[in-house]
């Protein structure tokens, strides 16, 4: 076999060469400066039309919804999204008219919830959204390659499938064993959006529980905006340096936003707001209702805190916290 198989699609985000990567990241400041700003400031400064966007968390778990709402509010357009289990995060960006391309691993779905979102469907059928295919693990490893500063990484998934054919992956042979591997291109998003439990003002972040790919996602992003439930002192970071999952030098902006993942889950803090998710899913069934939902919850409020008031304020948040702590049963309102 002389010709090694390769995917048919042109990459939505070309891997940087090692030299290009170090030229970009070499310019990022190592200075420990106060990077706190509002979501508005962060989005205005670091998110541009046409950007390729990586999103931390896992679809609707620990996702940066406050940042995403702000991107919708600021009407960013033609964003291309890494759909590494993208659920409510991606869907809401699409509902807001911000997305022109999705690199799909898991997209256009809300996992176990029985109501299907119609947002992606409508965009695809209208020819307004291009896609290509990857897998969840592939995204994790594409980010890992970027975090390592290399342009590709060999893995044993995607091989032989249409998921491969409709991707931009290639294949290589191992120079030691002769085996065929899927060669994944490193993924360096133009901008990464991430929500964490705790950060200091410089951007050092701690995350408990599963990390998904966030350690590597943050290192892969050319620009990184972090929102945090809580801002802690740098001395608290330094008390437990092995808990720093994301070091400050990866981070360009720190946005203090309690309940910043709402209506999605923040592990250990608050559960999904299934009532709001259900309302959203219902709204997505028509274009008009979708637009009305976005108007009501984004355009007609001035910021995420006002949105939190609108969806139930402190009383609602405390209830979601009790559900997360198993003190109250969750609703299943679909």
């Amino acid at each position: 076999m002389n010709e090694l198989p390769q995917g048919d699609m042109e990459l939505a985000s070309r891997p940087l060469t090692a030299g290009e990567a170090r030229t970009w990241f070499g310019k990022k400041s190592r200075e420990q400066t106060d990077k706190r700003m509002t979501a508005k400031e962060a989005v205005e400064k670091f998110v541009h039309d046409g950007d390729y966007v990586g999103i931390g968390g896992f679809g609707h778990v620990r996702v940066p919804m406050a940042l995403i709402c702000e991107i919708v509010r600021r009407k960013k357009r033609n964003l291309r999204i890494a759909g590494h289990t993208a659920c409510h995060d991606l869907d809401f960006l699409m509902a807001g008219g911000c997305v022109s391309h999705v690199d799909v691993a898991y997209s256009f779905g809300h996992e176990l919830r029985p109501v299907r979102t119609r947002v992606g469907d409508r965009l695809i059928k209208a020819g307004k959204l291009s896609t290509q295919e990857w897998s969840n693990a592939s995204f994790s490893w594409r980010y890992k390659a970027a975090a390592m500063g290399v342009s590709f990484i060999p893995v044993k998934v995607m091989l032989g499938t249409d998921t491969f054919k409709y991707s931009g992956a290639k294949t290589v042979r191992c120079p030691f064993t002769g085996e065929i591997y899927c060669a994944l291109p490193a993924l360096y998003p133009d901008v990464v959006l991430m929500h964490v439990p705790r950060a200091d003002k410089y951007g050092n972040c701690q995350i408990e529980g599963i990390s998904i790919a966030d350690k590597d996602v943050a290192r892969a992003g050319k620009r990184v905006i972090v929102s945090a439930e809580e801002i802690i002192d740098n001395s608290a970071i330094r008390e437990n340096p092995h808990l720093t999952m994301i070091p400050y030098f990866c981070v360009d902006a720190v946005v203090h936003q309690p309940y910043g993942s709402h209506p999605c889950e923040m592990p250990g803090s608050y559960w999904f707001d299934e009532e709001v998710i259900a309302e959203y899913l219902k709204a997505t069934q028509s274009e008009e209702d979708t637009a009305a939902y976005v108007k009501k919850y984004v355009y007609d409020v001035k910021d995420f805190n006002e949105y939190l008031q609108l969806v139930g304020g402190e009383e609602k948040m405390k209830r979601l916290e009790r559900i997360e702590r198993f003190e109250e049963s969750p609703p299943y309102p679909w």
Partner: protein, 259 residues
């Protein structure tokens, strides 16, 4: 006690899982099946979640394979790269898969119906399915058994089964051993013929005939013998499912006014 078809499928899938093995589970039916196995014959079955949770102690059914319940009191809560690396190295025995279409080699489609660029229907895509189908030793598909889903050729191979048949996985570079093992459907259970890697009928539920299965299968199913009648869930199993695993009815549909 009268059981539902969902409960029959869950019981059938649960019965496949040996104790002290590791199993990739998604939310929904797979998790219900694995939970039932843990509460009956396989108390030390280890549940693995693609997002990073390993062997949690459940308190309620998760809606997402990444939510905190999937790593509550877990042995470890790592990253997806950790878990998938472990699977690549052969540390995960079973994997559950779903899909809109399946072919006789166990290839699964969860991406599109119709042409990729102009799909009749667009589904969420691989998620972790391609990874699970590439890296687990034995995968178990759970499907509705309908002629429009059991096809000679799926519209899109999202997740590898045996690809084009014997040697197909090896030629593509997928690591051996591994691949499709069982298909649990709304009619019964299939496996795969060792030699041809084609789907083979193994058993049907009480009241389902071989011909019912043939009628709903869009390719020639290998049938070597009269299919066994698969055991129905016992009253105790039904009780466990309804009271302990899914009291709210998220999986049974009770929560959304169905059943």
């Amino acid at each position: 006690m009268k059981h539902s078809l969902t409960e029959q499928m869950i019981r059938t899938a649960a019965g496949l899982l040996e104790d002290n093995k590791t199993c990739f589970v998604g939310s929904g039916l797979p998790l219900a099946a694995a939970s039932l196995a843990k509460k009956t014959h396989a108390p030390n079955l280890i549940l693995v979640f693609e997002a990073g949770g390993f062997d949690p102690e459940f308190t309620r059914l998760p809606l997402s394979v990444g939510e905190s319940i999937t790593f509550y009191h877990a042995t470890y809560a790592g990253g997806m790269d950790d878990i998938m690396g472990d699977a690549g190295k052969g540390m995960v025995d079973y994997g559950f898969l779903g899909g809109a279409q399946i072919d006789m080699y166990g290839n699964l489609n969860s991406t599109v119906i119709g042409d990729y660029f102009h799909p009749k229907a667009r589904f969420p895509g691989s998620g972790g399915a391609n990874d699970v189908g590439s890296l687990c030793f034995k995968t178990i598909a759970i499907m509705r058994h309908e002629k429009r889903r059991f096809l000679e050729h799926v519209d899109f191979i999202t997740t590898p089964g045996y690809l084009d048949g014997p040697g197909g996985r090896e030629r593509a570079g997928l690591p051996a051993p591994g691949g499709p093992w069982r298909v649990v459907t709304t009619l019964g259970m299939m496996g795969y013929d060792d030699e041809t890697k084609r789907m083979e009928l193994l058993g049907v539920y009480e009241g389902v005939t071989k011909d019912d299965v043939i009628k709903e299968t869009g390719f020639e199913l290998i049938i070597k013998a009269e299919p066994e009648i698969l055991p129905a869930p016992t009253s105790e199993e039904i009780r466990i499912f309804r009271e302990e695993i899914d009291p709210v009815g998220v999986i049974s549909g009770k929560s959304k006014g169905k059943d």
